[in-house]
Amino acid sequence: MRRLIGASLIVLLLMGAAIIYLWPRSRGGALVLYCALDYCADVAQAYQHLSGDSVEVVRLSTGPLLARITAEGHTPHWEVAWFDGPEAAEGLAAADLAAHGLALPVSWNAIGRAEQSPDGAYIPTGLTLAGVFVVPQSFAAGPPLAWKDLLRPGLRGRVGMNNPAISGPALPVLAGLLTQGGGWPAGQTFIEALKRNGLHVYAKNNATLTALKSGQIEIAVVQSSAAYYWQRHDPGLRVILPQPAYDLPSVMVISAGLHGRNLVAARKFMQFVLSANGNRLRSQEGSADSLYWPLTQEASPNSQLPKISQVTLAHLNPIYWGKLDKVLSPWFSNVMGLN
């Protein structure tokens, strides 16, 4: 029977290997980055190569990322979080999960200055638009140009958007739609009208745009970066910029209570992200998230995007909408019957 013991030893060795593999790597100064953007891994790798400091990247989509940060509460496993949506950042800061008073010595351009956090809850890293319309080239009737066009009877059941509870960029879309309807709570009637007009809701960008391609819907309301990415890969689609288009900067936050060496490391990484080098890496990475308008003077705009001056840009107050963060998504889920 000693052979069985031998066999068990093999199993024990395998388990030992599994424990070693799963063991939380010694932080030893490694910065932990929770990131919802596609280019994080490339940026982190380049940063490690240049600076010698290690960065551990944890990739999650925005909704689960924010839920995880909330669940971890005041024993966070992260130092820096990077995602789309200043409203969520303000919400985290208001809950004392992210630090206030962030500021970096960066040469911002005009848009960059406009996108700054009023209370230093985040650092903006790039601009996209919260919601643009993606339609097939063969779209029969006149495409929508304004938000209220989505209520046209001819568009009944033909419009889809993301679920703001899961897809972070969809929250500013929701905020924009509510603004169209007169703010909060007046704007609720606009959303309810959209629901009566057969609005479809999908988990994330990919699901919404796949529904568009399969013909389930004919108008996808998605983030500009996703929209232009799909247009690039599918000439059968075209992007329409609504008027107005609401701003959706990607932002970085640091966990509350970060200090000393960790704080220095976090700031150093953020500085790199906003540097010319960092911006070049991000915009050339090739994913949807690369399609953003830069916020610093050293960075050149992506040639695949229209000039920002062509966009009728509207700004959402992140603190105001950030305070409603805990209310908006659940309310939307209730109204749309997503619970």
Partner: protein, 529 residues
């Protein structure tokens, strides 16, 4: 000298361990339903209502086919009869989210997308169909046991006494009713606790189902623990009620079958007309049960369905799950050993407490255990949330009750005298443990480990709630691909996982076979002078 106190403490330790790892987190989570914090989301009873109605429909729909398949398999000889059991096992072991993905791929194919069948599938009928498929194995196994208990002599007696066919059918049905009712209850509980199908098809068609609704409350921004707890209460309550009903049926009505002693059954050849119908039924069962979804997965894997080219990072989920399963199954076995002394001490209060707790535990679905661990370990004195340790702990805790029930019979059946002979005759501790005691229980332990391994590998709700960022388990990766409609990746990963597990299982079986295959050649032993 034996320390009496230490010996007596062993069962109490098992009780404490079970209480700490299971009872306290679950109760703490459920009590959150009554907390004063405001719930930001309306708790829609639609999810609960849907789950109950679907559960009832599925249990009614699966009982008769399951019993019929058991009857065909046990009583008759016809072509393809031997296929029934393997298909049932395949269906039983097939993860529900992968089964659903296979069907979704088929229904999303260009020639099916706009058909009426796709319309039916992408609705509540599709959910019911898939859940019925997953419920069939339970109905089959129960049916098989019942048919075997009925025995040939009963039918011989009915024939000899020339009992009219209608009356004979009534006799048979009356005997079958308790088993059918118990089966329906088991299928109902399994259905309302199912997570994989609501997480895939349910999410796609926005049909609120209570297990996925609980999950959504915890993983949307912001997470709502109170809402999750409120939704969990009816789920647990229904399962406990169903378990009580099943126990009552078993106690009152099944005595007739329990106390029968019956000769083993000889199968008869079906008449010609029946043979064709039976074979056709088996074919259809195979096709709709496993072949179509497998074909869908294969079709998507070669690039036939929507999806992306590749994401190497997601494939690490395969390796992650192998590691989690190895460790979780080992932890579950250790938990069984820790709790075993308490379970054996049935005459004592702690033995009965553990017995009841492990029974009640089976009414707690994975999503609730995951939620309980998320809340219990996300701060304060033991912030394990987000670590692989917590996930492995949860996996182990979830498997312990199943393993206890599974191993109880084989471990108890080892004749007591064999252990006692070791106590009396083998002074050497190492010899006693390694050469005598362990080998006696090696087989059931290995089977228990293998089952726990497989269950953990394919596990979904606990994985979704507790996986450490950057180390997603297999199920999480599959569902992520499914929800992003990336069927190509989902199919490739799914088929690769099945292949890996098959190889792993074959390797483990080979290892066991080699280890237990003693050299039977007689060795010349020198005679002591």
């Amino acid at each position: 000298m034996i320390n009496y106190r230490r010996l007596r403490a062993a069962p109490l330790f098992g009780l404490l361990l079970f209480t700490a790892l299971f009872v306290i987190p679950v109760i703490w989570f459920l009590l959150g339903a009554f907390s004063s914090s405001t719930s930001s989301r309306t708790i829609s009873i639609v999810a609960v209502r849907n789950s109950v109605l679907i559960g009832i429909a599925v249990s009614l729909l699966s009982v008769v086919p399951g019993l019929a398949l058991g009857w065909l398999s046990d009583r008759w000889v016809f072509p393809l009869r031997r296929l029934i059991t393997p298909i049932i096992w395949l269906l039983f072991l097939f993860p529900s989210y992968l089964l659903t993905t296979g069907w979704q791929i088929v229904m999303d194919a260009p020639w099916m997308r706009d058909s009426v069948w796709a319309g039916y599938f992408n609705g509540v009928l599709g959910i019911i169909f898939l859940l019925t498929m997953k419920g069939l194995p339970f109905a089959y196994f129960t049916g098989l046991a019942v048919w075997r208990m009925l025995g040939n002599d009963l039918f011989d007696a009915l024939a000899t006494l020339a009992v009219p066919r209608v009356r004979a059918s009534r006799v048979i049905i009356t005997l079958l009713l308790p088993a059918a009712a118990a089966t329906a209850v088991v299928v109902f509980v399994e259905t309302i606790q199912e997570f994989g199908i609501p997480a895939t098809l349910g999410a796609a068609i926005h049909l609120p189902i209570v297990t996925y609704a609980i999950y959504t409350q915890l993983t949307s921004a912001p997470p709502d623990f109170r809402a999750a707890a409120l939704l969990s209460l009816p789920l647990v309550g229904l399962a406990v009620m169903a378990a009580a009903v099943q126990a009552l049926i078993h106690h009152r009505r099944a005595v007739a079958l329990k106390t029968r002693r019956s000769k083993p059954l000889a199968r008869c050849a079906l008449p010609q007309s029946g043979r064709f119908v039976a074979a056709l039924a088996v074919c259809l069962f195979a096709i709709f049960g496993v072949l179509i979804p497998l074909a869908g997965l294969a079709y998507a894997a070669v690039g036939g369905a929507s999806g992306t080219a590749g994401d190497i990072a997601a494939w690490s989920s395969l390796f992650n799950s192998l590691c989690y399963a190895m460790l979780g199954a080992a932890l579950a076995l250790l938990g069984v050993f820790a709790i075993w002394p308490a379970l054996r001490a049935r005459g004592t209060w702690y033995g009965q407490a553990v017995d009841i707790m492990t029974l009640v535990n089976m009414a707690i679905p994975g999503v609730i255990l995951g939620a309980a661990y998320l809340i219990a370990f996300n701060g304060g004195w033991l912030p394990l949330y987000g670590t692989p340790l917590l996930l492995v702990l949860a996996y182990g805790a979830a498997q312990v009750p199943m393993l206890l029930r599974l191993l109880q019979a084989p471990l108890s059946q080892v004749p007591r005298g064999l252990h006692e002979a070791a106590s009396v005759h083998v002074a050497n501790h190492e010899t006693r443990l390694l050469d005598v005691r362990l080998p006696l229980i090696a087989d059931p332990l290995c089977w228990g480990y293998a089952l726990a391994f497989g269950a953990i590998f394919f596990e979904l709700p606990i994985s979704e709630l507790l996986y450490p960022p950057g180390r997603p388990p297999f199920g999480v990766a599959i569902v992520a691909f499914n929800q992003a409609l990336d069927y190509t990746q989902a199919a490739r990963l799914g088929l690769a996982a099945m292949g890996v597990l098959f190889l792993f299982g074959a390797g483990a079986a080979g290892l066991m076979h080699l280890a237990q295959n003693h050299n039977r050649k007689y060795h010349d032993v020198p005679v002591a002078v």
